[in-house]
């Protein structure tokens, strides 16, 4: 290697040194440590902080001896399976709605993005009030509607039935939904709540929409393409990299959903919102089963990694990059 190349390499390493240091100290080291911990029993709260090698016992326990593991996995899967498509389609619909030239569009965009500036905890606390079955804004509003329709009228029952089918019952003989206080409705309520922060994916979609050249639409219109055709033949293909990005981030994010479960429902009622990460967190920091929690965390990593790889691999089939036209 020439002297110049050596100098260049040295400069390069020097520039990336901050990341290498941080990565080694706070990611690589802990990764290795947690991989080792997952084969151990470790309780830091014990007087002599026992660290004991147990082999694959933690993983065996996960699959055979812990019903809460399966419960939390199915809760997280259900949450992801419903909330990711909702987020994708809702974010796209909002972006389409806001991608037009009407007066005051900046105000509307701001309004839709506003919930995003609240933190996860603030959002959780706010919706905790809104969802309260007897004192919440939503149920009091619904009660007024039912009163207006007449408690025993067919209209009221027709409105109450789908709501209670999805969001549970407040009481045995009530028309009101139970939201997060009912076992049937808790998870669906949290999914509904996640739609309030659609502004994030809306902004990304909006940026993608505005990058599509107007000339394509004009050319298609001249060729006689209707709205529907233009949407499916121009908007969707050209937006597919954005949708792909939202999908990947959605998978990574929704499998790690945690805050709502901890603050709003504490995993309940009857573990119906005991998300996978919440279960891991509890094992680690409430029951001090650090080894078992590490094993849980690694299993989640494997799930997220394989799903992400699946999405990335499938992208050649449906994601269209303009730069690399075939």
């Amino acid at each position: 290697m020439s002297k110049k190349r050596v100098r260049e390499a040295a400069s390069g390493y020097l520039f990336i040194a901050p990341w290498v240091a941080g990565f080694t100290l706070f990611t690589l080291g802990p990764m290795a440590a947690s991989a080792i911990l997952s084969f151990c029993r470790y309780d830091p709260s014990a007087v002599h902080g026992t660290l004991e090698w147990v082999g694959l016992a933690n993983y065996a326990r996960m699959f055979t001896g812990d019903p809460l593991f399966w419960k939390s996995l199915s809760v997280t899967l259900r949450y992801s399976l419903i909330s990711i498509p909702l987020q994708l389609s809702g974010g796209l619909a909002l972006a389409l709605l806001l991608n037009r030239h009407v007066r005051g569009i900046a105000l509307y965009r701001t309004a839709f993005y506003l919930p995003m500036v609240l933190g996860g905890v603030a959002i959780s606390l706010l919706w905790l009030w809104l969802f309260s079955p007897s004192q919440g804004l939503i149920n009091i509003g619904l009660a007024k509607i039912f009163d207006f329709l007449g408690q025993d009228s067919a209209c009221a029952h027709l409105l109450a039935w789908p709501l209670q089918a999805v969001f549970g019952k407040a009481d045995a003989d009530s028309l009101l939904p139970g939201w997060i206080s009912s076992e049937r409705g808790a998870l669906n309520s949290l999914i509904l709540m996640s739609c309030w922060t659609l502004g994030g994916s809306m902004i990304v979609n909006l940026a993608g929409l505005q990058a599509i050249p107007k000339t394509y639409y004009e050319a298609a219109e001249i060729d006689g393409a209707g709205r529907w055709t233009r949407f499916w033949r121009i908007t969707i293909p050209l937006l597919s990299p954005t949708i792909f990005f939202n999908l990947v981030m959605g998978v990574i994010g929704s499998f790690q959903v945690f805050t709502q479960g901890l603050i709003m429902t504490a995993g309940g009622p009857n573990n119906s919102t005991c998300f996978y990460v919440l279960n891991t967190y509890r094992n680690a920091f409430e029951f001090f089963r650090m080894g078992y929690a590490s094993a849980l965390a690694w299993f989640l990593f494997v799930i997220i990694l394989s799903l992400t790889l699946l999405v990335v691999r499938s992208s050649s089939l449906w994601v269209f990059y303009e730069a690399q036209r075939r």
Partner: protein, 256 residues
């Protein structure tokens, strides 16, 4: 000539389309902003009231007056009590200053149902002179909009607001400064220099972002415990600077 341009109704559609767009946008915006508005509205209400009076968007306050003195009160409830001239309604109220509870009696005339909404008294407004006259002999509860600004003062005092704000500001400024500094350095390093293993390292960087934080959470917690960094701000500065999701953005920005 095609018939498209002169198609009847096209002008009308051009006029109505923005109106329809606004209608949809305003409705959707209202749904999005309702929870936020509710939070603001609740923050200005007297504590303890919450939703016990149903949905009230404005911070109404009740004041009891017998013509001579006026006291801020909270209406606790009302019940129908047999009175001299037919049915009367006994209303329980609590003085907010002295915390004293007392009842006052309203003798309604005519259709009483309309005056009472569930167990809550309908506000007596100044304009409604007849209603006031009807209720005046005994006492009346007047309602006015009175935001409880003291809630904010209380929040500032109770949660050690300034300490928390200082913490947040310190983390935000130091963390952002660290992120910008280290990210631009690292991005420049990856983009402008060739060195053995640069592609592999870049892939490692990208894949490390996929790593759920729970995987490293436990060892990082144990590490900080060993360093006696628990209950300090140090972990927040060091982690934000070293592991940031902004990195790829600045990387791609400097390569193009």
């Amino acid at each position: 000539m095609t018939g498209r341009v002169t198609k009847p109704g096209r002008a009308l559609r051009r006029l109505l389309a923005p109106l329809a767009a606004h209608a949809i946008l305003i409705a959707a915006t209202a749904v999005m902003l309702l929870p936020l508005a509710w939070m603001v509205s609740t923050s200005l209400k007297q504590s303890g009231i919450g939703l016990s009076r149903g949905i009230e968007w404005l911070p109404w306050r009740d004041a009891w007056t017998n013509g001579k003195e006026t006291v801020d009160v909270m209406v606790l409830g009302a019940r129908v009590a047999p009175g001299d001239g037919g049915e009367a309604v006994e209303v329980g109220i609590k003085s907010l200053a002295s915390r004293r509870r007392f009842t006052t009696v309203y003798v309604p005339e005519g259709a009483f149902e309309a005056e009472i909404e569930a167990w809550r008294i309908r506000p007596l407004t100044g304009e409604d002179e007849t209603a006031e006259a009807r209720w005046a002999p005994f006492a009346s509860v007047r309602r006015r909009v009175a935001p409880e600004w003291g809630n904010y003062r209380e929040a500032l005092e109770k949660m050690r607001f300034w300490v928390c704000l200082a913490n947040t500001l310190a983390i935000t400024f130091l963390g952002t400064a660290g992120t910008i500094l280290s990210c631009s350095l690292v991005a420049y390093g990856f983009a402008r220099f060739r060195f053995p293993g640069n592609n592999v390292l870049f892939l490692v960087l990208l894949s490390s972002m996929m790593l759920p934080s729970v995987v490293t959470m436990i060892p990082v917690y144990l590490l900080f415990r060993e360093l006696h960094w628990i209950d300090t701000l140090l972990p927040l500065f060091s982690r934000r600077g070293s592991r940031s999701t902004r990195l790829p953005c600045s990387c791609s920005a400097s390569t193009t």
